[in-house]
Symmetry: C2
Subunit: 431 residues, 2 copies
């Protein structure tokens, strides 16, 4: 599959991918939908205005690509998404001249990626974060409750999740300020209010919801996949010292709600389909409303990594090289996204287009399999070494956390997510 737009062999954005995002340029600061192809962004607002989406569904929904978010397009559902994908793959295919040979439109619509500023792909009305990696839940459980009680009694029966804070979801590249918060420095003493000294990343993935469900209805585990518009990388920044003190009994709050970063490009289920793989077997078998027939329990084989690049605050220069501290994969996720969605809606809760549903920290077995520093440093008891000679128990000011993820086809072509990055800014002055 080749395109007339040049695509580097290692690019995450081959013609097989075509992820959607919202971008703007200095010349046209209005955020608008685009698709990534190689090192370019294809302007869907321009293509749509030029009448290049001629299929029956999109020609009647032309305004979907004239919005500052993807919510309208997300709400259209799979048939419209497939029509768009077919149109785009045709327009970009080697040998297809409709766009390639229209110099004026091509000039306008094909924007070098380094000229594009990326925005949140959707207005995210609801953000839900789950806790669905067995390796992660087990590690955390052993750390705090010992090996014999690692998993809580409910963990193998339902995808444990909680409502996150949607207003503070930010797009990759947005710096993240170290939060102040209440911390219990010594048991039995009063807490202190101070900048978090245990700032952590959490490597996650998430899906953005397409068509939702009405309040009072539910999504079956078999139909939920059709309600997934696409996937992003998620960094669920966490302040562990704040979390430990605040989370009983209602769950994490200020330890998480200061920021959640997502990658700007939304990779579609159609692009990921060739990389489907079997999800882990479930024992005990889940209740019927969560049961996926063997062979339909699918994850994707997404290779994930997290790197830390020390900056001004880390002792190195601002151009210090990065160190990969985590290598993980989506494939071992115990509860799948359709299971999470079926559970989320089982009592009638409504999902809406643009909602973000995240997996929870994705840890794997192996020396570098820890999806967060809490696990990698085993609750801060051992350090992670960086290539500049420094070490980390938790993140320092100036550190940039970079998450990457991609699938690789047998021919080497990639369907990737690009990056989700964020630099840690120092806490604000005393409040």
């Amino acid at each position: 599959m080749a395109s007339w737009v040049p695509v580097d062999p290692c690019s995450h954005f081959s013609l097989r991918n075509l992820p959607y995002g919202i971008f703007s340029t200095a010349a046209n600061p209005t955020p608008r939908p685009g698709v990534a192809i190689g090192a370019h962004v294809l302007d869907l607002a321009a293509l749509s205005s030029a009448g290049l989406f001629s299929g029956p569904l999109l020609s009647s929904q032309a305004q979907s690509f004239q919005q500052t978010t993807l919510n309208s397009f997300m709400a259209l559902g799979r048939p419209a998404w497939m029509e768009a994908r077919q149109s785009l793959q045709r327009l970009l295919a080697a040998g297809e001249g409709a766009l390639r040979d229209n110099a004026e439109l091509r000039e306008r619509a094909l924007v070098p990626m380094h000229d594009a500023a990326m925005h949140l792909p959707a207005a995210i009305g609801g953000y839900t974060d789950f806790y669905c990696s067995r390796e992660h839940a087990t590690n955390v459980g052993i750390m705090f409750r010992g090996k014999d009680n690692a998993l809580q009694p409910n963990w193998l029966h339902l995808p444990v999740g909680y409502h996150g804070r949607a207003s503070s979801v930010v797009v990759s590249g947005t710096p993240v300020r170290r939060p102040w918060g209440q911390v219990l420095r010594q048991a039995g003493h009063p807490p202190a209010f101070q900048p978090s000294s245990q700032l952590d990343f959490e490597l996650e993935m998430g899906c953005l919801v397409g068509p939702g469900n009405e309040l009072g209805s539910c999504l079956s585990v078999g139909s939920a996949a059709d309600h997934i518009f696409g996937y992003v990388l998620v960094n669920d920044w966490s302040a562990r010292d704040i979390q430990k003190w605040e989370y009983v009994p209602l769950g994490p709050f200020n330890s998480k709600n200061f920021a959640t970063s997502i990658s700007p490009w939304v990779v579609t289920p159609d692009a990921l389909a060739p990389f489907e793989c079997e999800a882990p077997p479930q024992d005990p078998p889940p209740l019927p409303y969560l049961q996926q027939p063997q062979g339909q329990r699918r994850n994707y084989d997404v290779r994930l990594e997290v790197a830390i690049q020390p900056g001004g605050g880390g002792g190195g220069g601002s151009d210090a090289s990065e160190t990969v501290v985590t290598r993980s994969n989506l494939r071992t996720l115990y509860w799948t996204l359709p299971q999470m969605m079926a559970h989320h809606t089982a009592g009638g809760c409504n999902l809406q287009p643009g909602d973000l549903i995240a997996t929870g920290t994705l840890s794997c077995e192996g020396a570098q399999g820890a999806g967060c520093l809490l696990e990698a440093t085993w609750n801060g008891s051992r350090a992670v070494q960086l290539s500049d000679g420094s070490e980390r128990h938790y993140l320092l000011d100036g550190d940039t956390v970079i998450m990457r993820g991609y699938c690789q086809a047998e021919d080497g072509q990639r369907v990737g997510f690009g990056e989700c990055r964020g630099m840690v800014l120092p806490a604000p002055a005393l409040r």
Copy 2:
């Protein structure tokens, strides 16, 4: 303070009140802002079109009253709210003819309340629920941990809260479907998936946020009150059997996210100001970022009640009379709304116009002081008697829960919230 619009002496909507809401009528189904006065709704879109808001702030923001939600008006802030209130109190005052004597406009703008359908007052982007009644937290703590460990160690140091689900917040009058969910019927056995048999109400109040704060900034406890647009009654419906099984370790999820009801009329701080009262003293003193100088720790003296009216499913007829099962008051709230907001934003989390921040269950001392059936029945161990001779441990299908709240001035005039009501529908058929 009298109006030329007739106002019953017991009405919640005297000229002192003027709460804002969003309504529509059969003749004009477009939702639009209105103000309640006696048994009428005053159409602010019509007044604004007619140029009756002539103050400097609102005349330049005339579109704020031409929206289907109050978010734009909420975002304007206190000076604009005060201007609107002054204009409305003047237009409605006895002796003022500008609207009274304009028969055509009066006919159009003054709608009988029984002709108005009420909608959510705002597009609620974020819903946060706290747990700030000491009486409630103590009762629940004694029930589950015994008298000596009733309050968790963090409870006296911070307003414990969690993120709720904004998409399922509904306006009073919307029926609520009993949710299905996972329930542990017997410890050590597998859970079952079934309709909740422990459906409960939670009597709460909440504020709707006016101007928010930027991500990374915070609201000081001294300035937070200026960011409150107004207050509503909140019923945080809860499925106790689902909650007990799911909530460890990340907090309530499906036990709460199926529905939250709010009253349609938003009562402003200006209307409530005469009913301010001292909030309870705090010992230990909170950390400085939560400290309100003595004399500035204020709640409002809002008399609250909850009634249950049995319906088709309750054994009585659909016109069975209601029974008041709870009498409580906002005045004993331990952590005040400004403290909740200062804590919510302490780490940099951003609030936005229209966000809902709820207090948690408001229980008081006294025989009927329990703000939910969990407390009133002491975890289901004793029944609540209804006037039709039936009894309740938890809610039955067909029950309507009616919450009311008002402040009463010395002359008997009321500033009230009207009602927040919802009928329990049977769970959907087997899923």
